[in-house]
Symmetry: C2
Subunit: 427 residues, 2 copies
């Protein structure tokens, strides 16, 4: 097995610093990854299924083995607590999620949970007691594959939506979150959002990047300043369906040509907000979709993202200006734009971010800022507690895929940074 061979990463680190056990972390991930393992090397462990129960049970067992007290709240979030030496201190939390996509990988979510467990195991081994209590958290249904809304457990914890709304959500078979939580034994009694000793002093989440930036820069640690805000739209372009041979170019109302110009505009709009602007048309449907008929209708998505709300609004204005220009240019076209999703941008806590950056530097890891383009539990937790994230690279930036892969040495580095970021808050 290809473990701990990345000497380029290790050789720059000071020898004296406290370290997690990288081989144990890797073995823990591999052992846990057998629950829901797929033939192609991935994991299918949908939220609140029997496999999720098994994944939770094993995690809870390992937490108890590490001497922690386990609580479960009413939305099924699991909190494993290691008490500190100072009973007046609020806890420092770390974690992520156990559930996966239907064709998910062995690292998305579970890495953040097992890295947190490894931090506790390391402290146990070295006999280190922190002043503040530590909590290892596994949030319910982050992926949203089986039940929406996504990031359900952390969303209820942070008050983004109500417990009742989440419990009433049902899957494609009509089974509700409430029913399934009870069935797998994780309908807890704790009130979501209430933490013994008061809300967390800080929350840290380690996660694979799920993008290509760290790999492209050949770096191992990403310091995450925040998560991009998102505005999604459904666009319907209505033109004039007509014969590709008999209709001269100047008498056309070509809906696909208009869509092409919209796609180019979305790209330009994002590039103008570098480095954090994103603009994507990923879904597009043509009617009648025949090679010798000019498209009469095109339906497509637009996905705009930015780290500042003002940028996101300016991007929306640019989009609407493009639509007006396309319609003005050809009166045979009508373009309807329907907003369908808005997530505000998230800025993580400056002090938490600095802790991650300094922890990495203290261990000799060169880091860079990598914004989160996707949602994470930390984004909701940031609404109620100081929070930050630590990214490690994943091969080719691939995630939500059975081929998802992260190097053992990179995962160990991420857990080391988590350890030292937490120690800065908990000592």
């Amino acid at each position: 097995m290809d473990t701990m061979t990345d000497t380029a990463v290790l050789e720059t680190a000071p020898a004296a610093a406290l370290r997690i056990n990288g081989e144990r972390l890797w073995q823990t991930l591999m052992d846990h990854g057998r629950i829901g393992a797929t033939a192609k090397g991935g994991v299918c462990r949908l939220a609140l299924t029997e496999l999720d129960r098994q994944g939770r049970d094993l995690f809870v067992q390992w937490c108890r083995d590490a001497g922690m007290q386990v609580r479960v709240d009413a939305i099924g979030n699991i909190f494993a607590r290691r008490e500190g030496s100072d009973p007046t201190r609020a806890a420092v939390a770390m974690g992520s999620h156990i559930d996966t996509q239907p064709t998910g990988g062995k690292f998305d979510g579970i890495f953040g949970v097992m890295a947190a467990l490894e931090v506790v195991r390391t402290l146990n081994e070295r006999g280190v007691t922190t002043a503040a209590p530590l909590e290892v958290v596994a949030w319910t249904n982050e992926e949203g594959s089986r039940f929406v809304p996504v990031m359900m457990g952390s969303g209820v914890f942070a008050g983004a939506f109500t417990l009742e709304h989440a419990l009433a959500a049902s899957d494609a078979q009509g089974l509700s979150v409430a029913q399934e939580l009870a069935r797998i034994g994780y309908a807890g009694v704790q009130t979501p959002g209430v933490v013994p000793g008061g809300m967390y002093a800080a929350y840290f989440e380690a996660h694979i990047e799920q993008g290509p930036v760290l790999e492209a820069h050949d770096l191992v640690i990403g310091v995450v300043p925040g998560a991009l805000g998102q505005r999604w739209y459904d666009v319907t372009i209505t033109g004039v369906e007509s014969h590709a041979g008999t209709t001269p170019m100047d008498l056309r109302g070509d809906a696909l040509l208009a869509a092409a110009r919209l796609i180019e505009a979305v790209n330009r709009i994002a590039l103008q907000r570098a480095p954090y602007g994103r603009g994507t048309v990923g879904h597009l449907q043509v009617l009648p979709n025949s090679r010798n008929t000019i498209a009469g209708t095109v339906q497509c998505s637009v996905d705009l993202r930015a780290l500042e709300d003002a940028d996101l609004l300016a991007m929306q204005e640019d989009l609407m200006a493009c639509v007006a220009e396309l319609q003005g240019r050809n009166p045979r076209l009508h373009i309807a734009v329907k907003p369908v999703v808005y997530f505000p941008p998230c800025h993580f806590d400056a002090k938490c971010i600095a802790s991650v950056r300094e922890a990495a530097a203290g261990l000799g890891y060169q880091s860079m800022e990598v914004v989160s383009g996707a949602g994470h539990d930390a984004v909701y937790v940031a609404n109620v507690a100081p929070a930050a994230m630590i990214f490690v690279p994943c091969k080719d930036g691939i995630s939500h895929n059975e081929a998802e892969w992260a190097e053992p040495a990179h995962l160990a580095a991420g857990a080391d940074v988590l350890l030292h970021a937490v120690l800065r808050y908990a000592s």
Copy 2:
């Protein structure tokens, strides 16, 4: 019924010229349109079906009633002959097709056949005998909806492909052209391409335009200089499927963005060959086609048309230059272009074209050149005989649609022009 009300068309015509009977032509079209009539006002009369047989039988009956001799050739083409006064002259032919699209209209094809019949009826009525024989032709399976190749009867007649190839073609149920011709009683004994007294001196086909040009110019007669050549391609763009949130703009291999640029280029390439250049992407498929995933693969069609072969080749070169530029701009993209269809351009006979133009002028109709962007039987016939076409407007340029509509006065005008173009050759 809205018959013969377009006085603006009629008032400019000299009173003295010989005229067809517009009301009889309209009634004939409406009577014939009952065979295969659809609830939405269209016609479904697929080639070599029972309804096609009924349509053929009625046409043959009407031809016999008009005193013509009927022959059928081995591919089912029907030739109705009216002898002339000079037995040394080659016949002058006119016609089109009886079959329709599955959701076809009441005018596509059948207008050219019934206009030809109306010419003969008018000559009978006025006691006019032409020097050259006249033939009214109904070509088998022009539409190609049930059997390919399209324009089958005229294609075999002109030697574009063999009789054996056409007879072996089968429909979705596995029934062959040979079987179906025999079943409906139209497997004739005549050798395709052999005409009594030698190949036609000229062939004229009246047809609805199936495009918007005449309507846009508010004109009733289109003089058709030829038919556009066509080059069709299947294009596959392979990029990198990745997350719309986590992948920065500069690390993308967005197959749909590349497709958008290709669509814009195809449009520009056609505009550079105005007025007869055409360029269309009508079919496009995105994979995985998810709103927050950058498209990994796009498959699309490209349809290029021009009236000169040199233009068509230059357009292909421009297309390939665009593909090379797109690949050079982003090495994450691979673009494969596969040619799938080539039809050479067709130039109709200059003298036949002039006859149409002069016939229109003689009747007081202002005409314009309208190139045929679609295929027609006349395009194949032009390979073996001097040929030309007469276009009349159809409402909103719509054809291959049950909503297809042509004004009675416009159809009468087209038949009048057919009459006089034929008389110029047959007298």
